[in-house]
């Protein structure tokens, strides 16, 4: 029989039957239905959210997103390399605080203070990488330890107070530098500068992952460690590089964050660990390494931001928002698993 002629008309009853003939097709149909339904609910919630489509809300969201986007890029690299970074929030808080303390209390020039913040991020990340590789400690444990340690150091550094603070006499300056404020809330042609930076970082992250030898090594060590080592890739050095980059990006996100909040404190960015990991997973990166990309994570960060924004607009209570986020994360991962099993 000619295959062309035997194919039933689209959307006829026969077509529908042929679409659900096998278990696999039924599974695929189910997946599609769920995705469309979830997308539909999401769009509906967005459209009916009071004031979602206003410029003010757009700017508000655009200003909140950059830190999570930048950290999600860092987390993507780490996770593709079969690691996980639980210290991202702590590093953000520490590096942000350090920049602020250096400027306000130590009287260091602004650019040096920023540089100091960034360098401290790289240093912390490298130390994490060294602990993991030379100490042969699982990523999860090492970064968990770093999370607590770094947070603690940040608290010591800031004495647990916001910076700049009115309660301390050591301060030389009682304000954050305008350059840092601009990083956090300045605009270029109406677009938040921080968002432009974040997008630029996504682009660089994409380039690194897909077009450089470093990116290839990251995929390789995450996908199959023995194979990577047998192919001559320096596992330890690659791992250290990944965490150093993660540290750098977290530091940048931290500085942007203090600029936006116009103040630094050692306890900020507490929820970013979970959010960055969630963004990466929603974006389709394999939690076990070797597969994924930053574009997906950008999308994931966007979904999470819009979600929390519309929940805010609908006046959903903070605690209930956590429930929503949790459900969305689990739902997305389930769909992802189904898709992996049954194909698109």
């Amino acid at each position: 029989m000619d295959k062309q002629s035997s194919r039933p008309k689209v959307f006829s009853l026969e077509w529908l039957k042929s679409q659900v003939a096998t278990r696999q097709q039924r599974a695929r149909l189910l997946i599609k239905t769920i995705i469309v339904a979830m997308g539909g609910v999401f769009c509906y919630a967005v459209l009916i959210a009071p004031g979602f489509l206003t410029i003010g809300n757009g700017i508000n969201m655009a200003q909140r997103m950059p830190s999570i986007i930048i950290v999600a890029v860092a987390q993507t690299l780490v996770i593709i390399g079969a690691g996980i970074d639980l210290s991202v929030g702590a590093v953000m808080a520490f590096c942000g605080s350090l920049t602020a303390v250096a400027f306000c209390y130590w009287g260091i020039p602004v650019w040096v203070a920023i540089l100091l913040g960034l360098l401290s991020g790289v240093t912390i990340g490298s130390i994490t990488g060294l602990i993991i590789t030379k100490g042969r400690i699982p990523d999860f444990i090492a970064t968990l330890g770093m999370m607590v340690t770094v947070r603690g150091i940040a608290l010591i550094l800031t004495k647990g107070l916001p910076v700049p603070s009115h309660f301390t006499v050591v301060r030389l300056r009682a304000y954050l530098p305008p350059q840092v404020i601009w990083l956090g809330s300045g605009r270029i042609l109406g677009i938040p500068a921080s968002l432009i930076i974040a997008i630029a970082i996504v682009v660089v992250g994409w380039l690194v992952l897909n077009h450089t030898a470093l990116g290839r090594s990251i995929f390789a060590i995450g996908g199959n460690k023995p194979a990577a080592i047998l192919s001559g890739i320096n596992f330890d050095f690659t791992k250290i590089k990944i965490y150093a980059i993660s540290g750098l990006l977290c530091a940048l996100a931290g500085i942007i964050l203090i600029g936006r909040m116009n103040s630094a404190n050692a306890l900020m960015a507490g929820e970013i660990n979970l959010q960055s990991i969630a963004a990466v997973i929603i974006g389709g990166t394999n939690l076990f390494g070797g597969q994924g990309g930053v574009i997906g994570s950008l999308f994931g960060a966007g979904v999470l931001s819009v979600l929390s924004n519309i929940l805010n607009l609908h006046n959903v209570q903070d605690f209930a928002q956590d429930v929503f986020q949790g459900v969305v994360i689990i739902g997305v991962v389930i769909i992802d698993q189904l898709r992996r099993r049954y194909g698109r």
């Binding site: 096998t22 278990r23 696999q24 077009h211 450089t212 030898a213 470093l214 290839r216 995929f219 390789a220 996908g223 199959n224 023995p226 194979a227 990577a228 080592i229 047998l230 192919s231 001559g232 890739i233 320096n234 394999n286 070797g290 597969q291 194909g343």
Partner: protein, 496 residues
């Protein structure tokens, strides 16, 4: 004739871009061993996996004892009396041999329902004894060689007491001796009323075990023949669709300068004072049984395992190799025995091929994707890698085609010294010849090649010189044409 135990009608399966099975029919009778042959990617594993419930069919019907069944998953298949030995080993590395053999069917204690360890160990020993192998059942699978893993897997299938066993290249990593015992085991199974479907790329095995053979090509069934009407030539023609010519094309090569000299290499308790030299353009075969230390030697040379004593000279200069990275920089390449150690399953073909030689494909740190793709295309053509597209993920390739990618990776590395550990395992007849041609070309290009193989004809026909290894020592050396199969086997055994 009696009712077939298993009858398959019009079995159909498609993957994106590939029609893996195109309406395939097959029947299997009681006490029959049915060979399933075909090139890499012909659809053999897909066929078997559908029967064992790990892949779902698109269409077609399956009857067991005349009753139509819809096999939903591996447990279901087992309930229906079907067990399978997978081509890609499916053991859990962290568990012991005994636990793996009875995976999910551990004998329980009467009280509290805990695992009955003594019984587990005893029954596992029993299962392996039947195969005539001595593997410590309390050993973790990750510490086993690939041959031992295969035997463990076979023991698992046999111990399931199923009526139909599907063997997907069960013997590819076995030594000749183990293979003999395995064949004996198959005959014994047959006597007890078990039916078997048997996939292998070693055509010489077919007459030893099979009663009938079915040949697949590109997902279509070509024919089913009784074994006495299917000689090797006929089978090859059916599989490949043409005559393949000389099976071991070996070109004369000029031996050049010495590229590698190993002096007194020792790992205490495992490798003893190994010495060898290798010249440009030379193919040096290393023959030995499983456990003789061939793979250990390769690993030591490549910097994976630390050596206790010994010196390595490359092109006359002493080198210290303490990691694969050092080895690659010194000009070595190593195709591992276990292809899973070499491939990034979730990545596509080109990045896998260029991984060890990535630097050559980079400019200012950026990868030249076009060059990479073109190179990959070249190898896909040369080696006949069966794939719908260049950028296909490795996990979607058939087992033999994965092996070809692993090989291409080292062919591409342009190493001066290439260690090939069982390079043609799982590769079909036609492609084997292509692999030999490429090896020839490399050696003509000045590379020195160490060919580790347990396939005697391969070593005898392709190597310029043969070292025989036994118990971690080189026990004999022959020049090309000096030795016969018997000589090699005798020298392996002599030392023991």
């Amino acid at each position: 004739m009696s009712l077939p135990v298993l009858k398959v009608e019009g079995l159909d399966k498609s993957y994106p871009g590939v029609h893996a099975l195109d309406h395939v029919d097959l029947d299997l009778y009681e006490m029959e061993v049915h060979g399933l042959l075909g090139e890499n990617g012909a659809g053999k594993s897909t066929f078997m996996k559908i029967l064992s419930g790990s892949v779902l069919k698109d269409g077609g019907r399956i009857f067991i004892h005349g009753q139509e069944v819809n096999i939903a998953n591996p447990q279901h298949a087992r309930q229906l009396g079907i067990g399978m030995v997978y081509q890609e080993l499916s053991l859990i590395p962290e568990l012991t041999v005994a636990e793996n053999i009875f995976l999910g069917r551990w004998p329980r204690r009467k009280i509290f329902g805990g695992i009955d360890w003594p019984q587990l160990v005893a029954r596992a020993k029993d299962a392996l004894d039947k195969l005539g192998v001595s593997i410590n059942v309390k050993e973790r699978v990750s510490n086993l060689g690939i041959g031992e893993r295969q035997l463990t897997e076979i023991a698992r299938a046999i111990s399931m007491n199923v009526k139909i066993i599907l063997f997907d290249e069960p013997s590819s990593a076995l030594s000749d001796e183990e293979r003999e015992r395995f064949f004996y085991m198959i005959h014994a199974l047959k006597e007890t009323g078990v039916s078997i479907i048997y996939v292998s790329h070693r055509l010489s095995e077919a007459p030893r075990v099979c009663d009938r053979v079915t040949v697949l090509r590109d997902g279509k069934k070509i024919d089913t023949l009784p074994m006495d009407r299917a000689d090797e030539e006929t089978l090859i023609r059916m599989m490949v669709g043409r005559d393949v010519g000389e099976k071991f094309p070996k070109d004369e090569t000029k031996e050049g300068k010495e590229v590698l000299r190993v002096k007194d290499l020792t790992i205490y308790g495992r490798l003893h004072h190994l010495e060898l030299t290798l010249h440009q353009g030379e193919i040096l075969g290393i023959f030995g049984l499983m456990g003789a230390g061939r793979t250990e030697f390769a690993r030591a040379l490549f910097g994976i395992d630390r050596i206790d004593e010994g010196k390595i000279f490359i092109e006359g200069r002493r080198v210290g190799i303490s990691s694969p990275k050092d080895a690659i920089e010194a000009g070595l390449g190593y195709l591992t025995e276990d292809k899973l150690d070499g491939l990034l399953m979730q990545m596509t073909i080109p990045p896998n091929i260029t991984l060890p030689s990535l630097r050559r494909f980079c400019k200012f740190g950026f990868i030249k994707h076009n060059d990479e793709k073109e190179t990959a295309k070249g190898y896909i053509e040369d080696l006949g890698i069966h794939t719908p597209r260049v950028a296909q993920k490795i996990e979607f390739l058939s087992g033999g085609n994965q092996q070809k990618v692993a090989l291409a990776k080292w062919l591409c590395s342009q190493s001066k010294i290439l260690i090939l550990d069982e390079p043609t395992r799982g590769i079909d007849v036609g492609s084997k010849i292509e692999v030999y041609r490429l090896i020839n070309e490399l050696s003509k290009g000045g590379a020195g090649i160490i060919l580790i193989s347990s396939e005697l004809p391969e070593v005898l026909n392709m190597a310029d010189r043969i070292l025989v290894m036994s118990d971690g020592s080189f026990v004999a050396a022959y020049n090309r044409g000096e030795a016969s199969q018997e000589d090699l086997l005798r020298s392996v055994v002599a030392k023991k």
